[in-house]
Symmetry: D2
Subunit: 432 residues, 4 copies
């Protein structure tokens, strides 16, 4: 997930005063540490695959972000915590300088977890000073950068939970991150209804005074044909039917690249599913648990989402169709703040749109490309704004590990089509 | 390049009578053999990288296409030429049956070149009989399939020349496929002018009675903002400026995936460029030749096209912008039929649109996705119609090795963004 | 197989007069071409795996050897056939200059087969002139180098047949190199007897006036304990028992590296064995053929030979044990000159030593290291004499594709322990 | 390093009484923990390359060894500490059962370090009970297995230090494991003298009542020609001359496999050497330190040792030559017990043999093969005794991280020829 920043909107962000900024900042920083509270020291160190970063790396990188983009340019006399941390904790900003190879983040026992908490404290201390002492003339720019840094840290909070799940699922002991927060018993699936949307020209993209990343702009018109969306997400039970019908063994359901991936990686089920004793089990942040059929299917790649939809005689929605359907819905759902950290079933009987926000990120069939008229921001932070706009697909709606304040109808998440360790699922669409 | 077929358009194709069909068929088949006429037997056998197929494989595969999709289903009592050729020469039709691994096509000394020419004759013989003896009731379907088979063979004629170039360029002796057809002397570049296109709603996609592949349909409306296109292609001279400005060494010009590719493959120039004796040289189908600065840059990946455009402060066109600009231009240019088989400079002074057809395929910034309302065709041929619609970018306009009858404004070619062995270049675009 | 030369033995080689030399030379050169006589042009071009060289490469490389080590240094005014052939056909002599990458030998359609035959003729022509015109003072050195070049070409004759078998076996059409020369019917295995050898000090290594490579020297004493050797080679039938006892599934039989190799490459049987219709078949130079149980097992790696011996409660012989047993036996057997080109069963009843020469190379348990006091030769040819003396195991006795004049009791062949495409098998040993 | 056990020698081991056994056991176990005393929790978790194991894995595996081979078979009612530890901490004993993949040892945050120390305590507790309660009839076998387990743990003590060095050297912060124990200042190299050994028959291999692994037996006769050995190890200063003479750039010095390795891995110096500010530095267990020319060269592969010797016009000793020279020397030197943990210079003036024990393991030119008459032991522990006897070279003499009680003249260490992270160097030899 790249950091793609949005130009400050004076009407919105400039009203953030220093006290509010400090209070918000502290709560975001505290939230990251709170996520790590139940980890053992050893858990902080592991990189269980190339895409995963050790939890302590996330804690340090988010601090480096404030250090590098706020303290170093704006706080005169700021004392670096450690001269090599810029090298170790820069993620991918080539213009900032050389950085440590991503694949080797799990080779670093030092700095220790304790040293990284000290680093966080150090950065917090000087951010407090910066907020207090900055010129009024600079405040608007700082308020924007602070806001950006907080949204950046939100993204890493989601990544922390996502990576911790992978670290624990890789371990044969299958440790639990937290106690179960859900009953183990299944309940019937709700019926799948279809929401109808007429053809027409719509506006999509960010508007209004709130914060958004720059990839959500500019707002622009799109022409949509009439279409229908499923009223809820596709469930584990429905996905099992696909599997039992030989879904993973029949090339006709798959994109060519998807079929090659299925064979090369021997995929037979979503990530974190295990078959044992004649039953399907699923690794969760609360440990192993019997598969619940009414829950949304999760941890599937774009290829699997697409193959399921093709098998079902449907398709995935475009991001414009999704945003158009979601833009007037309340931004609420099973997000990180519920504490469940696992997707939950839709209400049993409903014909209303459900599960648009939270539970799982929904794969769309839209490649991640710039909106028409998109302009990369100026300066260091914006240097590489568009650099991920290739070979990735857009996801919408947030998941059960997305902070509630981080999601909105125009939010564009994006991952390569073979990604499975994120909390990803799907909603069906069809032409009307 | 996948075979994506278009549903038959009765008004157009059904008027093809049997005599015309046979005559057209023969000329297409002859053309493929004519392309191979100057090859040594040994040249037919080589697979110089995974993407390349040996020339004899192309000659056999295009025959298998007619055998498998016409003779076997429609000609009662058709005697297979060889029981294993279906296995050897099926390219990727999973539903037709197992097929020989693509990467090992260069391991096949047998069948010999002579046997493959016998196979072609055998197929031709029975296609003649099929054309003569088919029921009138079947003729319309057969005419469509014949037409499809001929377009399929056109695609492989382009691939033959593309692959022969790679085979010869891989050989340290740098043999020439044909004598030079162009003066070695350079001439000044024409000035780059900008063609202006106003904002508005346009129709793109195939229409009319002619043949098209199904990925060009359905015709549909798109909204375009005002934009400008370069009046001609980007030249070698312009691309050299990018290189001399450190283009391949500065991450800020590149997509993230592109930058990784540049480093992993140590790219420093377009494919087939060599620096020797203080000068740039370029491998062509007529052997090594000094780089001509006024010629269009060729054999660059999407990543390089995109990086060049970013460096130049411009962007690549979308496929809709390109098609909208090209739809009323005459379909003429430096195509395969000119016999030059190398891109040529634009006219010296012009403000008219030039080089839209022929010379080089133009990378667009549009990922290859289905048009809204796209429906895959039914049956064996259509089984996998959409299976390549992921991780590829659209190219437009044909190249100097595209048969003239094979290109049209709505034609969508597509390749992964790291592809360089095709005759690929770029035209700049910008918002107006 | 490396070229390891032996210092000239005046008493032997210097007696070779010019006429004899030319006659021998011609017969060796003719033999190589004769081996290729039944190939199609396409067969000459294929490199079916990294270890295999295209037949035309062998024909060119053996000519380059004479050109580089005889004509260029000794024949004043020798006109190079082609300036780039040194680059293309040097195998691994780093000091001679840069050479073309081994793995890409199958990418070379040019020079054509015809050009390579012309190259051979050109070299032969000037070798004739060199033989006629050389000073008497140089003749002894030339006679040695000519002899070396002929032995080098012998080695490549064996490699030609070995590589042709691989090329044909890789092709799904399984073409035959020659008509069957053996009855298809099986006959009973001969009983396995044990040959007993007492403990004592023996001399091993080359002696006498004949030619030998330098790795066979110096002759030296070894102390051997009492040991027994099988009277004949291990048969297919015996090896099948190992397989049917789960030989490929039980780690306890295998060296650690062998077990890893078995799993990584999914070995389940010797190379070229296929199970079909409830029976075992074997690819031969005469095409597919039912497995004959009384024939020696062939195309097994060192790991498989070692695992079989362990399973059988025996071991492999050391090279000293083998040489000591073979040194007084007649050098005769099923070698290339029999024309069968496939290992044949041992005589039905015998307690005499059989199959020491020919049929299959016998894996010994001796790593390939220099004999005590071994001295690399001086000059270009000897520069890298010892460079293969690591990670390889010694094989003894020649095979059914070894030229009869090329083998002797002291001959040390060597290959890495995972090699299977050579004609390799085993004879059992045990302590007495 | 494999566990290769030696059959119990009653005269020696059976005299070990229960009290002595317990006391020895405790001291060995304490020593392992003592080595880890200065580690941070995070350091215990890292696997910095496939060959390295995380320190906590070593602590657990050595405990599993006692649990699996002593407590489970011999202590009735022994309560397993954890049912999955057998899976996690079995290294490679295929017959004991499936085990966790070696390459993923760095993915295990759990069990935590604290849990592993609890595991050690648990095992110690029950070993105490086993020693107290075992039948006299079993004591001899138990005494042997205890002894074996202690030698096994000695091996892992060396590996702990070796792996910690790699973990710390991989970290860009280059942390120190311990404070420097040596002066930084260099002193002159001692002159290299030659020790002369006459030709003759010698006995090598283990004899006497002490413990030895089974690969050191049986004792047997070898014939050695007259030879000379360097009086001391090759130094950094001497190795620098090789480097400055283009050692890493000239193929003629290298074995063929070595040269390929040099190019593929871009070796330019021994492992852990860094060039910075115009000087060579070296990572040590006390952090970065200027290269000291009089110290023995360390962390070189067999290929480098062999290339150096070839460059110097010498060769490496055989293991028989080494053992024959060392067998009467006192087993003393710079071993782990000195606490320096780094090789130290030879005495300045001496013509006596020095540095045979300790400092660095000395590469010999002997492939690791069984001694004549070697018999694998019976039962679970002996199942795979010979399974590493392929593709490895013998090293002799122990290093500065080898426990003093673990080394003896007949000790055969072995590693593949590309190994560099062990403390490995060389002594020159030549024929006399």
């Amino acid at each position: 997930m790249a950091v793609i920043l949005h130009s400050p909107k004076p009407a919105g962000l400039s009203t953030l005063n220093r006290e509010q900024a400090w209070s918000l900042y502290l709560s975001v920083r505290f939230q990251s540490e709170s996520i790590c509270q139940s980890l053992a020291t050893e858990d902080y160190v592991i990189q269980s695959m190339d895409d995963v970063s050790p939890p302590k790396w996330h804690l340090a990188h988010t601090s480096w972000f404030f250090e590098n983009f706020l303290l170093m340019p704006f706080l005169r006399g700021y004392p670096l915590f450690h001269p090599r941390f810029g090298y170790l904790f820069n993620s991918y900003y080539e213009s900032v300088g050389e950085f440590y190879p991503r694949r080797q983040r799990g080779f670093l026992s030092r700095p220790t977890v304790e040293e990284i908490y000290d680093y966080r404290t150090h950065v917090n201390h000087f951010i407090a000073r910066l907020i207090q002492t900055a010129d009024d003339a600079q405040w608007q720019e700082l308020a924007f950068l602070l806001t950006l840094g907080m949204h950046h840290e939100h993204q890493h909070q989601e990544l922390l939970l996502t990576d911790i799940k992978h670290i624990f699922a890789t371990n044969p002991l299958r440790p639990a991150y937290q106690p179960p927060r859900l009953p183990a018993a299944d309940r019937p699936e709700s019926a799948l209804e279809w929401l109808h949307f007429p053809a027409g020209v719509r506006q999509i993209g960010h508007h209004g005074p709130g914060f958004a990343f720059d990839n959500e702009s500019p707002r622009h018109e799109v022409h949509l044909g009439a279409y229908r969306l499923g009223s809820r997400l596709v469930t584990n039970g429905e996905y099992l039917e696909f599997m039992e019908d030989g879904g993973y063994a029949k090339p006709q359901h798959w994109l060519s690249d998807g079929w090659r991936t299925v064979r090369e990686r021997a995929w037979r089920a979503p990530l974190y599913w295990e078959h044992s004793g004649g039953r399907w089990w699923q690794m969760t942040l609360s440990g192993m648990r019997r598969l619940v059929e009414s829950e949304p299917v999760c941890h599937i790649s774009y290829y699997e989402a697409d193959a399921y939809a093709r098998w079902a005689g449907k398709r995935l929605p475009t991001e414009a169709e999704w945003e158009s359907a979601a833009m007037d819905l309340p931004v609420a759902g099973n997000l990180m703040d519920s504490g469940i950290l696992h997707p939950t079933p839709a209400p049993e009987t409903t014909i209303a749109p459900t599960q648009f926000f939270g539970d799982v990120w929904e794969w769309t069939c839209s490649p991640y490309v710039p909106y028409p008229g998109y302009r990369p921001a100026q300066g260091a932070l914006g240097e590489y704004n568009g650099k991920f706009m290739c070979n990735q697909m857009v996801l919408r709606g947030g998941s059960c590990v997305t902070p509630a304040t981080h999601i909105r109808p125009s939010y564009r998440n994006f991952f390569p089509p073979d990604t499975r360790w994120q909390f990803t699922g799907l909603r069906l669409a069809e032409d009307a």
